[in-house]
């Protein structure tokens, strides 16, 4: 329920590792914010500083404008579900979940009702009388999640709350988690490295890397308008091309890749001749069969797709269920991936000649990062 402000938080561990490097972030009242980033980015450290388990070397944590320095964990009304959650081994699932309401002497009826809704949410209705040792890792994690939710806090801090669960159950549970948290009006920070999970549950996503927040926005803003090449490839896979900025034209920019290949992207504030990086999501990359019928995927759009930018040979077509991934080998550029509806599975064959295109509005341009492209694109 409170608004949380993190101001220039710095935390350095022994060995000179900066887990938090001038980290600043505002989480609105009642917001569900996902902190998304690769391993070692400083996600857990940020959560620990919010709830008071770790003190920052410098910087401030504020709840509704109040500086929390010196305020003990017990008075912050923030519950953290850590990755190393521990259930009470001598209590069954039900009593673990109602631990906090019982301590706080809630009425029996309120306690029961709360417990039932939390236990239902995590699909543990059949296991209420089981003890932690009788549960699988995933079931223990779900019980711990229910216990954290039932703790009557104002702030919920979740460190990879679904990590121990099977992929299928994770998908089921994340929908329910979001709606339950919103219903309770909690301010929540949910740490994850899973971009699908973040997209589905978050009001806003904060992308964290090397202890710094590099972009904050709604899933749509970050997906469609990434701040850096890393973000472009981290939230939804992207094809990344290095080239030289040519200039802006009517409603789009032009970038020259190797071998005189010119591609279009959104207009950008770069100098002609400047080293640039183009990022286009695999789902927006369209390989059209050379000599085939004009692609119809985007026929409903006011303007049709531009003529293709470069040609290549399809190397592999991977069936993924609702989608397929087409990998095209392009001379001078390497493998270019495209993700399309699986209805087109029979349309592409290894060896098919294709010409690759995309809508300029779906491609981002960045100045070449100083650290170099390979370093910028590292996922871990």
């Amino acid at each position: 329920m409170p608004e949380i402000v993190l101001e220039n938080l710095v935390k350095e561990y022994s060995g000179g590792i900066r887990a938090s490097d001038e980290l600043s972030l505002t989480i609105h009242d009642g917001e569900y914010l996902c902190l998304l980033g690769p391993t070692g980015a400083g996600k857990t450290t940020a959560l620990r500083m919010i709830c008071g388990l770790t003190a920052p070397d410098s910087g401030r944590v504020l709840f509704d404008g109040q500086d929390l320095a010196g305020i003990p964990i017990s008075e912050r009304r923030a519950t953290m579900l850590s990755q190393s959650y521990a259930l009470f081994p001598n209590m069954d699932v039900y009593h673990n979940v109602v631990f906090s309401p019982v301590i706080k002497r809630w009425s029996e009826e309120d306690t029961k009702q709360l417990a039932r809704s939390m236990i239902d949410m995590v699909h543990m209705g059949k296991k209420v009388k089981n003890y932690p040792r009788e549960l699988s890792g995933g079931q223990q994690q779900r019980t711990a999640l229910a216990r954290a939710m039932a703790s009557d806090s104002k702030v919920l801090l979740l460190d990879e709350p679904l990590r121990a669960l099977d992929a299928r159950l994770r998908i089921e549970l994340r929908k329910e988690l979001k709606s339950m948290v919103k219903e309770m009006g909690l301010t929540s920070v949910h740490v994850t490295h899973d971009q699908d999970e973040a997209m589905e549950v978050a009001d806003r996503i904060a992308i964290i890397r090397h202890g710094r927040i590099i972009q904050v926005g709604t899933p749509k803003e970050i997906f469609q308008n990434p701040a850096t090449p890393f973000v472009a490839n981290f939230l939804g896979r992207s094809n990344i091309f290095a080239g030289k900025f040519v200039g802006n034209d009517a409603g789009h920019s032009v970038i020259e890749l190797r071998d005189g290949i010119r591609v279009k992207a959104r207009p950008a504030d770069l100098e002609p001749g400047q080293e640039a990086v183009v990022a286009v999501k695999v789902g927006s990359t369209v390989p059209e069969l050379v000599g085939g019928v004009k692609d119809v995927q985007d026929s409903h759009l006011p303007d049709t797709l531009p003529d293709g930018y470069f040609t290549g040979n399809v190397e592999r077509v991977l069936y993924e269920g609702s989608t397929i991934t087409i990998e095209t080998n392009v001379k001078g550029l390497g493998i270019v991936s495209a993700q399309r509806s699986s209805r087109r599975f029979e349309y592409y064959k290894p060896g098919s000649r294709v010409i690759v295109t995309w809508q300029p509005a779906k491609a981002s341009v960045f100045p070449m990062p100083e650290s170099g492209l390979a370093q910028e694109m590292r996922l871990d």
Binding site: K220, E320, L379
Partner: protein
């Protein structure tokens, strides 16, 4: 395989072709790890045989089976550098020293890790360590590779990159692979064939496209990919022989051709990408709209009381929560199953 009175896997018959990439997919506790341990010889089955190239290896000890193994928890030797880790296999096979190094370098090249040959495992990221572990498993020259949740401990984004890489490597070498996973996306994108397990038995098997387009059970339809499930009764047949199903409110949909009799209780399964909006159709109200990248996922509550989800391209404006919509299903992509005795909930239970 029996533990006391509990059968971890029961009456399993499976043939894997040479050079085939098979994933064993299923929820926690379905017996998939038990199965792979029986095949590799880590455990001995209570009953049944394991044959490799026609030879019964059931009683052949693990170390003589010529199988490479990669676990979820990366198990490299921390005191050896990456090259030495990969040399381990050739060394225990008593290859000459120079060959050991050549072999190890070959496999490190294959996993694009040769430039880190002199580094120690602790200097690598999780994804890189797992690549070295795969190189080590392959360097012993095994023609069969067991992958037991090899990507589970890695970040989602790294996992996605690595799964394509693993498939490329083993296909280049022509190796037979058994890969255990609980992640249906992973199974879909790497396998030649998926073996779906549930409660200690093989539930369904097929190539990824068959499993997705034409699942043979409600559980398979639900577990692999996403699907909308609605209850109804067979109410007739079209001229083309398609089955008509009457849903709870009386709204009738058409689906695949089936042998169900008039009045049979059935469940229809239709995937979100096969649901569209139209001027007339199943009435529903939008519950939530979530941006998924290249599309919006719209969740609706239909008049029938069922939740029905569909996709809207990111080039379109999605409806707002609360808005009424009319839904139609692609009849060619609407599967029909008999209503199970254990009920729909039981049929899709993950426990």
């Amino acid at each position: 395989m029996r533990f006391g009175d509990f059968y971890a896997v029961h009456d399993i018959s499976l043939t894997v072709a040479e050079g085939e990439y098979v994933t064993i997919l299923g929820p926690s506790g379905c017996g998939k790890t038990t199965l792979i341990k029986l095949i590799s010889g880590i455990w001995h089955p209570t009953e049944g045989r394991v044959l490799v190239d026609g030879n019964d290896v059931t009683d052949v000890p693990l170390e003589d089976r010529d199988i490479g193994y990669v676990f979820q928890n990366i198990a490299l030797f921390p005191n050896l550098d990456n090259l030495e880790n990969v040399e381990y296999g050739p060394r225990v096979r008593a290859q000459p020293l120079t060959d050991q190094q050549t072999t190890a370098e070959e496999y490190l090249t294959l996993v694009s890790m040769l430039d880190r040959a002199g580094m120690f495992p602790s200097e690598l990221s999780g994804g890189e360590q797992q690549k070295v572990a795969i190189a080590r498993a392959l360097a012993s020259g095994s023609k069969t590779l067991m992958l037991d949740e090899p990507l589970s401990a890695l970040d989602a984004r790294v996992r996605m990159e690595l799964r394509y890489e693993i498939r490329r490597i083993v296909k280049e070498l022509g190796i037979t692979v058994l890969h255990v996973t609980h992640d249906q996306e992973e199974a879909m994108s790497v396998s030649d064939r998926i073996v779906l397990m549930r409660a200690g038995a093989i539930h369904d098997t097929g190539n990824p496209m068959e499993m997705y387009r034409d699942p043979q059970s409600i559980f398979a339809a639900f577990f692999i990919g996403e699907t909308n499930l609605l209850e109804g009764y067979v109410s007739g047949y079209t001229k083309n022989g398609r089955t008509k199903v009457r849903l709870r409110t009386g709204y009738t949909v058409r689906g695949e051709k089936t042998a169900f009799a008039l009045g049979d209780a059935v469940i229809i399964s239709v995937r979100p990408e096969n649901v569209y909006t139209a001027d007339d159709g199943l009435r529903a109200k939008v519950v939530s709209v979530v941006f998924m990248g290249t599309y919006w996922r719209v969740r609706t509550l239909a008049d029938t009381g069922d939740y029905v989800e569909y996709n809207v391209s990111d080039n379109h404006v999605p409806p707002a929560p609360g808005e009424p919509v009319m839904l139609v299903f692609n009849k060619r992509m609407t599967k029909i199953f008999g209503r199970p005795k254990e009920g729909l909930e039981g049929a899709i239970s993950l426990e």
